[in-house]
Amino acid sequence: MSSSVRTKLAGKHNPTLAMLLSIVFAGFGQLYNRRYLKGVIFIIIETSFLITVLPWLNYGLWGLRTLGTIPGTDHSIRLLVFGVLSLIALIILGTLYVFNVLDARKQAMKIRDGWKPLPFKETMRTVYDTAFPYLMTLPGLLLMVFVVIFPLIFSVLLAFTNYNLFNSPPRHLVDWVGFENFKNLISVDMWKDTFISVFAWTIVWTVVATTLQIGVGLFLAVMVNDPRIKFKKLIRTILILPWAVPAFVTILIFAAMFNDEFGAINRDIIIPLIGGDGLPWLSDPFYARIAIIMIQTWLGFPFVFALFTGVLQSISKDWYEAADVDGGSRLQKFRHITFPHVMFATAPLLIMQYAQNFNNFNIIYLFNEGGPPVRGQNAGGTDILISWVYKLTFDTNNYAMAAVISIIMGLLISGFAFYQFRQTRSFKEEGEI
């Protein structure tokens, strides 16, 4: 064929037809475009999908919609898991299908406009070049879908069901209840009152405990970094030690030390020094909160200390010398040189500290299981949201309500983290600064 004929033919090539063909059956449009290999691949994918995956998908989706209809035979929670999996598979396949349609159209348009396909080898090379980054991230992405996204969707969906002990499979079926659980959380007194007081304490706990651990870490790092301090290595090693001891061991020891009657803190420190009967560390919510914040500070400061020490070393001496020339005071040097430097380099990690403490289940639960009890409330005096969710799930078997609170927690944390990360520069993409 001469090139003029080809151009003529190309002018007749119809993009709409290509699109329609590939909607009818994936790959037909590509065949029409004379992209045979691609067309065959799409045809194989759709055929195998229709033959093998469709019944499976149908079962999963049906399960997701109804959560089973025959108690004893249908296991609602398995159906839910299955349903979420099929939904993920479906979205992947759907994306492929839409891609196939758009691809057929785009290519047909190109052919109409006189585009000539490159030789096979060339095509493969361009595909390889453009697709390489995607190829490399694909395994990670797939892993992410199943390890993170799948459980996330599962627990979000759980919040819209009535899953509790008395609807548990195999004997019973779980049902969709829409926003019922959310409504209960803000309207039923028992949930509302407890939720508000626990939430308030969670915020106080997060802010105070984390700020304190960062403050102590910063203070010690600056002190130890002072040129007049001798034996820096030894002091640093000692200050890192609380981090080296497993946290649960530390917490349990502290719990014993804080015991009102038998603990070392009352017995050997408070009573001999101040007198009286000692402080009610474990039985009064106020003191229990103080104790728990102090323990967290103890556990958390070494990490911050290590972090800041590293950054402090890297601040150039020139800054301070320049400040000395200008007659800057010690405080001014700290405020305008040290502090901004340290914060700039570590902000994302510090934000993570806040997020971590927001969900710091270990310390709350190991210290005294969220106690002491508070009269007329179904969470203890030091219970934070996460430990309250734990109690809800395991003591009252109210899985749905626990899922609701988890969603709220997740949204809060991610909202906060997102906002903060946007504010700090470390996570901005190149050129965005």
């Binding site: 939904l87 839409v98 758009l102 499979p169 039985s283 179904n378």
Partner: protein, 427 residues
């Protein structure tokens, strides 16, 4: 950007359409396993059975030996898998539908309500004569009413309750009444040197329930195994009286309200405490520490009556998912016959629920436990019981701290009721 969006919208649209059009798949009409139950004949002998045993060394050793005996007698191999008793129901509900569950699993009776509500356990029919062998408390414990039908739900294998351990160096004679106990407490306590006549954890309903029972309090109305969860008797007149009496054990010069289990065990083992309340599981530890000075007595009488302590029964239950139910029942019955229970007691040190086996115990401590079991009351097995523990333990803590009993108990009961409602039980 626009293109990306249209991609997602289209894919999502397809997904939703399919979600709504998905139709009912074919399934076997009947629930698995229920099909053959009507027939009298035993199903064919299977090659093997699987049981889940608690992950405790001595118990496991005993179970494995008994399993070997069964294989020898019936020619069916028994696989003993170790799964902690606390995790078994949860694991069963996950592994069961996949066909990886056991034929028999091992649970304390107070979990029966939960297990039955989820439909994980099959009812049990004792063969003739088997029932008479068990002590009454054991049979009561595994009886449970679900949805108007009363059934037995397990083969009792272990029975336990608690009483008073005392150190004969400090307490010469076992306390017979609660007043004796209080006298021991008052006469032998010297907080400055950590010496106490008697210690108990203030916030533990399990150990303090006899006080309430004996003054006329109760947890749930109705009969054993068929509880009325809307009728809670923990703030009636008797309970308030009991609370006042209970309260008189705590305070300065008496039991400190911040006492914990660690403190009790630590000081008792050091020989600084006269008497403590505990169950047979603590015998080994105490004996190692105190040697011959350790003695045991049934719980002192309260309000002029023998104390009604909580009785716990651990039993073998047949899994709903088992495909060899007939033989699972057969194995459970074999494992809980008198001979095997006796053997299990000797190896694992857990008391047998069989009457004759209980009576033939010679060890003075264990036989005192056996006496106490006669006055025992099974812990309520309804799932609602799970909602009682925490609110009432907290109430006991408030009592120990000296707060006014009536409002504390009223609040606790109110909270128990809302918790029961929140958990989805009780209409």
């Amino acid at each position: 950007m626009n293109k990306k969006l249209s991609f997602l919208v289209l894919a999502g649209f397809i997904a939703v359409t399919l979600l709504l059009t998905a139709c009912t798949p074919d399934r076997p009409d009947e629930a698995e396993g229920n099909g053959e139950e009507g027939s009298d004949e035993k199903a064919e002998k299977p090659e093997s059975l699987t049981i889940w045993a608690n992950d405790e060394e001595k118990q496991l050793k005993a179970i494995e030996e008994i399993a070997a005996r069964y294989e020898e007698e019936k020619g069916i191999k028994v696989n003993v898998d170790t799964v902690s008793m606390l995790d078994q129901t949860q694991e069963l509900s996950l592994a069961g539908p996949e066909g990886n569950g056991p034929d028999l699993f091992f649970q304390p009776h107070d979990r029966i309500g939960n297990t039955v509500a989820q439909g994980l356990a099959e009812p049990v029919e004792f063969s003739d004569g088997a029932l008479e062998g068990y002590s009454d408390a054991a049979v009561d414990a595994v009886t449970y009413n679900y949805d108007g039908e009363t059934n037995y739900y397990g083969y009792p294998a272990v029975i336990e309750t608690y009483g008073i351990f005392y150190n004969t160096d400090i307490v010469e004679q076992a306390p017979e009444t609660a007043e004796d106990l209080k006298r021991i407490l008052e006469n032998n306590t010297n907080p400055d040197s950590d010496e106490y006549g008697f210690l108990m954890k203030p916030n533990d309903l399990y150990f303090s329930m006899p006080f309430f029972y004996n003054y006329g309090g109760y947890i749930f109305g109705g009969d054993t195994g068929d509880y009325d969860v809307n009728d809670i008797g923990l703030n009636n007149e008797g309970s308030v009286e009991a609370a006042e009496f209970y309260q008189s054990f705590f305070g300065s010069g008496k039991i400190p309200p911040s006492t914990t289990t660690d403190v009790i065990d630590g000081l008792f083992n050091e020989g600084k405490v006269g008497a403590v309340i505990n169950g047979p599981w603590s015998i080994v530890g105490y004996k190692d520490a105190l040697g011959d000075s350790l003695a045991f007595a049934p719980f002192p009488s309260i309000n002029g009556e023998p104390a009604q302590t909580f009785v716990g029964v651990k039993s073998w239950m047949v899994s709903y998912y088992s495909e060899k139910k007939d033989w699972a029942h057969d194995l459970a019955e074999f494992m809980t016959n008198k001979e095997n229970l006796q053997y299990y007691y000797e190896v694992a040190g857990e008391l047998p629920p069989n009457k004759e086996a209980l009576e033939s115990i010679e060890d003075p401590i264990y036989s005192a436990f056996a006496d106490q079991i006669e006055h025992g009351v099974p812990m309520p097995s309804t799932p609602a019981m799970q909602q009682v523990w925490e609110p009432f333990n907290n109430a006991l803590q408030f009592l120990a701290e000296g707060e006014d009993p009536k409002p504390v108990l009223d609040e606790a009961v109110k909270q128990i009721k809302t918790n029961i409602e929140a958990s989805g039980q009780g209409e």
